[in-house]
């Protein structure tokens, strides 16, 4: 079993994700440089947070065209597990692996704080460690986490149980309080909050840890 953390120029949560995988859940993990074209042997791709290409045009827009993304798209389409956190979520939206788009936070400020989430769906390889309706505490840190999807798209998400996490006190204006979603096939997760920042006791919350553990469980089952 091996995790791969993609590094774009401007990624800045890559090392944090790497740290949790290596030192907290103790699984093999390596960095994947964005100019690489192959994912060799990786079982779960992590697209970390940060400011890929400075987010200079639109969050995630330029990273989406990095050479590695073709491999990531292929991997996802063949059922591989992909998790995009914060900027990683934005990259997945731009790449079309998840539906919708991100707008600026409604009060136009960057927000960094712990928020409460409700686990809306446990039927994914990422959220199976939670109880449905469970309240968890995980920090957000973003400028553009105001998730947008049109009504038709939202109805789809609901119908297919694709909404995985919702804010209990919406900090950014996201449609339907959405904090995280999966694709229809349920192997690609995008979420704005940072589970890697809440996986160790020193950081006052370990509520993000079950996500990493659930992935490990699933990969073990897959053999």
């Amino acid at each position: 079993m091996k995790f791969g953390v993609v590094v774009f120029p401007g990624s800045n949560c890559d090392q944090d994700c790497h740290h949790v995988i290596e030192n907290v859940i103790r699984q093999p993990v390596e960095y994947i440089w964005h100019k690489s074209k192959k994912l060799d042997g990786v079982d779960c791709v992590v697209i970390p947070g940060g400011f890929s290409y400075g987010d200079y045009l639109r969050c995630g827009a330029i990273a989406r065209f990095s050479p590695i993304m073709d491999a990531v798209i292929k991997f996802a389409n063949s059922g591989g597990l992909v998790i995009g956190i914060c900027n990683g979520f934005q990259v997945l939206l731009e790449a079309g692996l998840l539906p919708g788009a991100m707008l600026r936070n409604k009060d136009l400020h960057f927000i960094c704080k712990f928020v409460e989430l409700e686990v809306a769906s446990t039927g994914t390889p990422f959220s199976s460690g939670y109880k449905k309706g469970q309240k968890i505490r995980i920090p957000v840190a973003h400028n553009e986490g105001n998730y947008y999807i049109d009504d038709k798209g939202l109805a789809e998400l609901k119908k297919n149980d694709q909404i995985v996490f919702r804010y209990t006190d919406n900090p950014n204006g996201a449609v339907a309080d959405i904090a995280g979603i999966v694709n229809k096939e349920r192997n690609v997760l995008g979420m704005m909050p940072h589970p890697e920042r809440s996986s160790e006791a020193e950081l006052t919350s370990q509520d993000g840890l079950p996500i990493f553990q659930a992935i490990v469980e699933r990969l073990k089952k897959n053999g």
Binding site: H19, D55, C112
Partner: protein, 753 residues
């Protein structure tokens, strides 16, 4: 001879120009003149401050690293590197970009030392928010800091914000950054080895930040006007790539020395790297990556374009380095080489345009400045407490004052409620959440104590240890008494560190003052420096780096003397960290230290009585040390559940903060003070006596804590219990937590609306 108008516009005096001619033995070229002007400026050469900066102690419990760009200390096999720097004037003109490039500059200082930046702090000062431009400045500065710091992925974990009339027209933006590396990986800011290549890495060079040269240009070249922007635009994305590329480059072992191009750009980095290594350097400006066409040599030498560095590389390994920078889409080009003539030689289009001994550039002249105590100070220090009505808001001062003291009259219950609420919502005291929630303060997952407590605490991954960091300065005390005010700044920083459980390890500073050519301003400067030096000696902490910012004046006069202190402390066991908010219902509240009649320079006096007057609070450094040692020992022995120092607003504000500062759980307290009648109620509540800390502890452990206080010979009073949903202090204050919290949490936001 060069025309007087030209060198004056560059900020050089007649005497300096003469000296330059004398050194050169001829008329200097325009490039040479420009190089001298920037190197001899206060910003680079410290001609007006160097003499006194040598008073700072450079040793402490931990081995200090002093010199070159940024300093630090050694902790086991790690080097902790940190520094603070000002970006006041650029921020006053263009707050967002000014603050952003300030953050960028200080962070470059850290990673050029070989250390990965792990945290930043920002110390900010503005005029009152009643003026729209001050609101604009604060919003812009915060926007710039978040824009740059968040993108870089360096958490902004702390800082301070003060408001005072004196900063209207000249705000202060002091940025501090902390980095960590293995001791053996520390890099040097020097060039050596004749023939070794000099590489230019990072972003390209434009005409950014070229200010004083306009006259030079018009005198010699007659260029068009639209050629010289002075506002630099921050590019955090490039800087992030530069951090990674630089650390990767240093890891190759092929780097001899490295220096960032900050103020004075290529001039400063080349001259100082060569001087530090006792070598010379020849650089060819035709090789410098330029962003604009037709740049003159002096422009290239003076440009302050951001996100650039100069690297001296072991000969033969330049390709390796170039490849790393190319991988990160950055420039990495050889622009020159080390020579043995101890001169900086600059070529442009095949011609030598400057050749100057590095010694002459790097050793700016040293000036003896006049100093004189300001005459109005004696008048300002006068404060007769009896002339202060107590309390003001809507009551008959006489009657209420005397019965309140007795604490019996039922009509007087809560007569200080409004005063306390007003203080809590004053922008200087109110919660800074609106600011720090715009900063990513958690990235890198080391922040174990988030902003909102006395000091931020960062873990050092791979060890059990942690660092605590804070920045402090109450400039009002410095205005009333520069020597003592500066000592208080050091003491308060140390106290904040100690309240987190950590031990103060080292200090950086940013000395913000008015025009040093005016004797009263200089008098403030010298006395503040002496105060810092003496306090640091007592605390046994070295001053490992710092920065001087003079000429902070507006037409209305100088800013308050503001020697900002940045301090880093060491926590031996990260699990034994402490925060300021009350934790458990039923805990005993103890006040360590003594309250005296010290309203001079207080926030109470200013907000409620509209006065800045009196003596700054007294400071007994030995007593201060004892209180801090006590609180650290109490924390490490598990006796203290919370610790919070009394600062602006005194005991009442500190108690209120401890009740309401946690976002998850507010909790009340009931306070009964000892020897109530000895002092006026407003003195009890709002005096800013130093060396006081509020700690809480489990009732079963209270005896142990009291015994410990005796051992440390620190006054210690049991003043109440944690619990309930209101804060009551004697019968002067009686307020539900919700009202306290809304005043404190919304104060800044409302003032900004």
């Amino acid at each position: 001879m060069v025309e007087r108008e030209v060198y004056c516009a560059l900020g050089l005096t007649d005497a300096e120009y003469q000296k330059i001619e004398q050194i050169m033995g001829r008329e200097p070229s325009s490039t040479e003149l420009a190089m001298f002007s920037v190197e001899w400026s206060e910003h680079c050469g410290y001609p007006r401050s160097r003499k006194y900066l040598s008073l700072f102690p450079q040793t402490g419990k931990y081995q200090a690293l002093v010199g070159e760009d940024s300093g630090g200390f050694i902790l086991d096999d790690l080097a902790i590197v940190f520094k603070m720097e000002s970006h006041n004037h650029p921020s006053q003109v263009e707050p967002k970009q000014g603050a952003a490039t300030g953050v960028g500059g200080i962070i470059r200082d850290i990673f050029t030392a070989g250390a990965r930046p792990i945290a930043s702090l920002d110390s900010l000062r503005f005029g009152p928010l009643s003026e729209p431009y001050n609101k604009y400045l604060l919003k812009g500065v915060v926007d710039g800091i978040q824009f740059y710091g968040n993108c870089l992925g360096v958490p902004t974990v702390g800082g301070e914000i003060y408001f005072d009339e004196s900063y209207s027209g000249n705000c202060l933006v002091n940025a501090m950054s902390i980095g960590v590396c293995k001791k053996k990986d520390l890099a040097r800011a020097r060039a050596s080895g004749t023939g070794n290549p000099i590489m230019y890495v990072g972003s390209s060079t434009g005409r950014d930040g070229i200010g004083g040269c306009s006259v030079l240009a018009s005198a010699e070249f007659g260029e068009g006007e639209e050629k010289r922007p002075t506002v630099q635009i921050g590019d955090p994305f490039t800087e992030k790539c530069l951090i990674e590329a630089t650390l990767e480059t240093l890891a190759t072992g092929a780097v001899v020395g490295i220096k960032d191009m900050g103020a004075a750009g290529l001039t400063c980095s080349s001259a100082e790297m060569a001087h530090a290594g006792e070598v010379g350097m020849e650089i060819d400006l035709d090789k410098v990556p330029l962003r604009e066409e037709g740049m003159e040599p002096y422009e290239i030498m003076m440009s302050e374009s951001q996100e650039r560095m100069l690297v001296c590389v072991t000969k033969g390994r330049e390709k390796e380095i170039e490849d790393i920078f190319t991988k990160w889409d950055l420039h990495g080009v050889v622009i020159g080489y080390v020579t043995d003539d101890k001169k900086v030689t600059v070529k442009h289009q095949g011609k030598v345009v400057a050749t100057i001994p590095t010694e002459a550039l790097a050793k700016a002249p040293l000036y003896e400045m006049k100093m004189e105590e300001p005459v109005k100070l004696k008048e300002m220090k006068k404060l007769d407490l009896n002339s202060l009505p107590e309390p003001l808001l809507g009551h008959d001062a006489e009657r209420v004052g005397s019965s309140a003291r007795k604490g019996t009259d039922r009509f007087t219950v809560g007569i200080y409620n409004d005063v306390l609420l007003k203080l809590l919502s004053a922008p200087t005291i109110a919660s800074k959440e609106w600011v720090y929630e715009q900063y990513d303060h958690m990235v890198q997952t080391n922040t174990c104590v988030l902003p909102g407590s006395d000091a931020a605490v960062l873990r050092l991954k791979g060890t059990k240890k942690g660092l605590a960091a804070t920045s402090d300065c109450n400039s009002r005390y410095c205005l009333l008494d520069p020597y003592r005010g500066a000592q208080i700044a050091v003491a308060e920083a140390a106290r904040n560190i100690s309240c987190s459980g950590a031990e103060p390890a080292a200090v950086t500073d940013c000395l913000n003052f008015g025009n040093p050519e005016k004797p009263d301003r200089y008098w403030y400067f010298v006395n503040c420096v002496k105060g810092i030096a003496d306090a640091c000696k007592i605390f046994e902490v070295p001053v490992i780096s710092g920065n001087v910012s003079f000429y902070n004046e507006s037409p209305k006069g100088a800013i308050n003397p503001t020697p900002t202190i940045g301090m880093v402390g060491v926590l031996n066991n990260i699990e034994q960290r402490c925060t300021s908010e009350f934790k458990n219902e039923g805990d005993v509240i103890l006040l360590l230290g003594e309250t005296k009649a010290e309203l001079g320079g207080s926030e109470y006096l200013r907000v409620i009585h509209g006065k800045i007057a009196g003596e700054a609070p007294a400071l007994d450094l030995a007593g201060e040390k004892a209180v801090q040692a006590l609180v650290r020992e109490a924390i490490s022995r598990g006796l203290a559940n919370s610790a919070h120092d009394c600062a602006e607003g005194g005991l009442a504000v500190a108690l209120a903060e401890a009740c309401i500062s946690s976002k998850d759980k507010v909790i009340g307290a009931e306070i009964e003070l000892k020897e109530v009648s000895a002092l006026r109620p407003d003195v009890h509540l709002f005096s800013e006596s130093q060396s006081r800390i509020i700690v809480t502890c489990d009732i079963k452990k209270a005896d142990k804590l009291i015994a410990l206080a005796e051992k440390h010979k620190v006054p210690c009073d049991t003043i109440g219990r944690v619990g309930g949903d209101k804060l009551s202090i004697e019968n002067w204050v009686d307020l539900p937590l919700a009202r306290l919290a809304s005043a404190w949490r919304n104060g800044l936001k409302e003032a900004l609306a």
